[in-house]
Symmetry: C2
Subunit: 196 residues, 2 copies
């Protein structure tokens, strides 16, 4: 069973700009991180459609999503995204990692109280496909530190944000192996194996 | 006149591991940053030859060095590298940026007391080629902040270091445009335009 962590960072390593919150999921200026998802600049208020993704971005995303049977996301990401309007946007079951499982009434998602439970539920749901850990950064760090991540799909947006939530926090020392790269105007997507 | 900044970072954005100093130029564990330069793992004591560079690393480096007519490096980098044994390893004139120009007696190098002078001297020496800013991180940040960098050649080594000197320090907000990518076992090299 392969476990894949996937996230988009700025060139200076932030997964959001400053002040990320519901309605501004990627923080001030952070929407530039996801230009590759929407085929170019977008706003929270304007129309933005996943089917605008094109070229190398689309090829990368198709490779990733084609491999994933179930996913895990942190509560912070789930809330910042407004629970994606109540509809799971990812392929297969999405397990939301939260310490407040009593609050979880949304039937579109599965909830787990710790990473071990989340991985167990997602691996059961993934069938013969991979589990994808979609963030936030804290969940990915926790899974990397636990040795539970086999591959890292890291998209780097061509922006230096200067502030925000960093992907790494200075406590991990890892050797990786690059397996593939896709580059577009809006991102350089690198697929890494995590060496154990 | 094009000015190119070029440096190698870890996936978590460090240009050295901790405790970089003369004899251990890239800090503890930081030699992994430059595996791509030497065709694989190397040590400070062992033999390491630039002609071991191969494949995509060599193609990237040839593109870069073929464009550069003169370079700039910071004093810290110059000292950490032991003045490269007294021989300038870069193509063309290398201007060392230092506030201690009175100490500078090494005839292999040119010395300048501030970034403006260093750029002027390097641009005069570069002829119709580009000026390359080879680091350290502080010199690159200073040149980016001054709007003096047209392109960033950023090599990312497949390692998370956890500590060291960061390339960015949270004070720059920049939009970049990816222009090219080369990937090997030991690095993903991205050429960016800096948008002004």
């Amino acid at each position: 069973m392969t476990t894949i962590a996937t996230i988009t960072v700025s060139v200076d390593g932030f997964v959001t700009g400053p002040d990320d919150r519901p309605g501004q999921g990627l923080g001030v200026g952070g929407e530039r991180l996801h230009n590759w998802v929407f085929g170019g600049p977008w706003t929270y208020d304007g129309e933005h459609r996943f089917d605008a993704m094109s070229g190398e971005d689309k090829a990368y995303y198709a490779d990733l999503t084609g491999r994933i049977g179930a996913g895990i996301a942190g509560r912070g990401m789930y809330e910042a995204a407004g629970a994606w309007g109540g509809t799971n946007p990812f392929p297969g079951t999405l397990v939301v990692l939260t310490h407040r499982t009593d609050d979880a009434h949304d039937e579109s998602f599965t909830f787990a109280g710790d990473l071990g439970d989340a991985l167990r539920l997602a691996r059961e749901a993934a069938g013969d496909k991979a589990v994808g850990i979609a963030g936030g950064a804290d969940v990915i760090r926790q899974a990397l530190a636990a040795g539970e991540v086999d591959e890292l799909y890291l998209s780097t947006a061509p922006v230096v944000l200067g502030a925000g939530k960093p992907l790494f926090d200075g406590r991990l020392d890892l050797d990786l192996e690059p397996l593939a790269v896709h580059q577009s105007r809006w991102a350089t997507h690198v697929r890494y194996a995590v060496l154990h």
